[in-house]
């Protein structure tokens, strides 16, 4: 079986995204990732219907820094709440109600907690999508003829083109050697 190469990918001057192959199970995907890394490929990505356990270690991915974003957002929420309660109650419109102080930490706790949580949740969700480069409605890998299986029951592995002299045909051949099926070279 010969590699399917998209017509656009062979045209002169069109950049190649990479070679993409399909694997049947998480285990065969992980084995293929390890094989590709041993061979020296570094720009790898996998497309899977659910988070595959152990894939980050296999890809050598670093831990997500999202926690720091969430911490920062939570602290910003805390500060915003305290500032809001202090400024509205004790500065802009000081009004004594029931003989209570104009500002105190005690009665500020509920609103401060809620705004900290609110900001942190936005930090987690917005930060996650930003790290992932989403929303991005188009990506070259969508051109793979069986991409729809990657959100269903199959596992795709991409060897992405790097800066200089990427041998797409060689990468495709290598993926087939690892047991990949439906190997395709995809244009950028």
């Amino acid at each position: 079986m010969s590699t399917f190469v998209q017509p656009a990918a062979t045209a002169q001057g069109v950049a190649v995204y990479g070679a993409v192959a399909e694997f049947a199970s998480p285990e065969s995907l992980l084995a293929a990732i390890r094989g590709a890394r041993e061979r020296g490929y570094t720009r790898l990505d996998a497309f899977t219907p659910f988070p595959v356990h152990g894939i980050d270690e296999a890809l050598g991915a670093r831990r997500s820094p999202l926690g720091w974003i969430v911490l920062g957002a939570g602290l910003a929420g805390t500060a915003a709440a305290l500032l809001l309660i202090w400024w509205t109650g004790a500065v802009d419109y000081p009004l004594v109600v029931a003989g209570k102080p104009l500002f105190a930490f005690e009665f500020s706790i509920p609103v401060t907690f809620e705004l900290a949580v609110l900001f942190a949740a936005f930090g987690a969700v917005v930060g996650m999508f930003a790290f992932n480069g989403l929303p991005r409605l188009y990506h070259p890998v969508f051109q793979h003829s069986r991409f729809e299986r990657a959100t269903d029951d199959k596992f795709l592995l991409a060897i992405e083109a790097d800066a200089g002299g990427f041998d797409a045909a060689g990468a495709a051949e290598f993926l087939r050697g690892l047991g990949g099926e439906h190997v395709e070279v995809i244009a950028e």
Binding site: P51, I55, V111, V117, V125, L137, T151, D153
Partner: protein, 460 residues
């Protein structure tokens, strides 16, 4: 062999029939891609009519004034706040299942979390209506509820009041629940996008899934985001009903001014929320044939949670009486005797029967594995939990410090129709959810199947 048999007896499988990944996709996506059963159309015709009635009642109130409700001095809060606390409580099961059970690695949550989270959102939407319309002028309420600069009065909220804490708690809860729910939905929306046959569905699910492609990098950030959301939602869900209870506990009304309220309200909220999940899940699992994913083990676990929270609530009822006697405070004592034996005795004993006595039937395995029994009990629990809020609010107010102003609250027709209409809104939103979005998290179920395949010895 014997070991395996015992292990299955103690820990039955969470997904039956050993489906592969494609089976999960086909089964769950098939529901939203296929035609709905006839019962769905009948149901939405009924609930849609009730929703229209809710709209009519609220319009009537906005044009006439809140005198169309039965609350009047001394009972200034009545069905409106009862309904508000009732609906907020229903919402708590969703976040408990999606966040707290996630942190505790309770894998049985996987099949039911999406469903329960959707329920949370719709319940909070119903809850929000009541205080909003209780203001009488909902179009002005933004200036009263949120710190929005008020061009007419140049005045701000009083942050010393628990009522403003409540606004922040409930609106944060609604927002964070929506974010959590949507984040969980994105990978499944991508599945629907890739399965879409028509151009319209491709565009809609393409936009909603934000271009999700299940990349290893995506999942890395996604899994951490989900864990962090669970971590911050856990104290959030406990805080929401705590702060709702402050609306009462921070006041000086006998019957409200007690420190037991926060844990007692949170337990009651989880109790009623699980009851609502069971009521709706029993129907959905039957109509859409989801018995493979929502097994008897799931239902039995939910019955156990209801039984545990029922006893917490019952213990709280008893503690309130003990403290009323032990405090030596005659006003406190009067309020509690009046609750159980005064003019609202029927409401009090309905509450105790439905919330404390009837759920004790779940001690029997035959009852907690019987679908008709759990369906009926779950509905009775929600009746009881509605009465709990009614009892707390109305019986504490109707005989206040001044005997000359004592009264007896009676709901008006508008009260009754508005509550009925809010059920219509809740169920309509729910029916639209099961029609258009996958009600079981496909990505999570597949992840669980993969974990079972990789570690068969740990398989529950």
């Amino acid at each position: 062999m014997a070991d395996i048999a015992i292990s299955q007896e103690l820990n039955p499988a969470l997904v039956l029939g050993e489906p592969n990944y494609a089976d999960v996709t086909r089964k769950v996506s098939g529901i939203v891609e296929g035609r709905m059963p006839r019962a769905w159309y009948v149901a939405i015709a009924c609930t849609g009519s009730l929703t229209l009635m809710l709209g009519a009642m609220l319009a009537y109130l906005a044009f006439t004034g809140i005198g169309v409700w039965g609350n009047n001095s001394p009972v200034g809060w009545a069905w409106d706040i009862t309904n508000f606390v009732f609906w907020i409580g229903i919402g708590h099961a969703g976040t408990l299942i999606s966040a707290i059970l996630f942190l505790f690695r309770q894998r049985w949550r996987t099949s039911i979390n999406r469903f329960a989270e959707a329920m949370t959102l719709f319940a909070v939407a119903c809850a929000g209506i009541f205080p909003l319309f209780h203001t009488g002028r909902p179009w002005r309420a933004i200036y009263w509820l949120f710190p929005v600069p008020n061009p007419a009065l140049h005045i701000w909220q009083n942050f010393r009041s628990p009522l403003i804490w409540d606004v922040f708690a409930v609106s944060t809860y609604a927002t964070v629940s929506a974010l959590f729910w949507y984040t969980g939905l994105v990978p499944d929306l991508a599945t629907l996008r890739d399965r879409a046959k028509t151009r319209g569905r491709k565009i809609v699910f393409g936009l909603l899934s934000l271009g999700w492609r299940g990349s290893a990098r995506h999942w890395k950030h996604y899994e951490l985001a989900y864990l962090l959301l669970a971590g911050i939602s856990t104290p959030l869900v406990l805080s929401v009903h705590t702060i709702v209870s402050f609306d009462f506990a921070v006041s000086v009304i006998p019957g409200w001014h007690t420190t037991i309220f926060p844990p007692y309200f949170v337990a009651g909220a989880i109790f009623s929320g699980f009851a609502m999940v069971v009521t709706l899940m029993v129907i959905a699992r039957q109509v859409f044939d989801l018995k493979q994913f929502v097994t008897m083990k799931h239902l039995e676990n939910m019955c156990k949670v209801m039984m545990a929270t029922s006893m917490i609530v019952g213990f709280a009822y008893a503690t309130e009486f003990f403290i009323a006697w032990y405090s030596g405070n005659r006003y406190e004592r009067f309020v509690f005797l009046n609750r159980a034996f005064g003019p609202y005795w029927w409401a009090y004993w309905t509450m105790v029967s439905c919330n404390v006595f009837i759920p004790q039937l779940f001690w029997l395995k035959r009852v907690r594995t019987s679908i008709p029994a759990m369906f009926v009990i779950s509905i009775l629990i929600n009746v009881g939990m509605w009465f709990e809020r009614f009892v707390i609010i109305v019986t504490s107010l109707h005989r206040d410090f001044l005997p000359s102003s004592w009264g007896y609250f009676r709901p008006t027709a508008v009260d009754i129709l508005t509550l009925t209409g809010s059920f219509g809104l809740f169920l309509t939103l729910f029916l639209l959810f099961v029609r258009f979005l996958p009600m079981i998290s496909m990505a999570e179920v597949k992840g669980m199947l993969a974990a079972d395949a990789a570690h068969p010895e740990e398989r529950p």
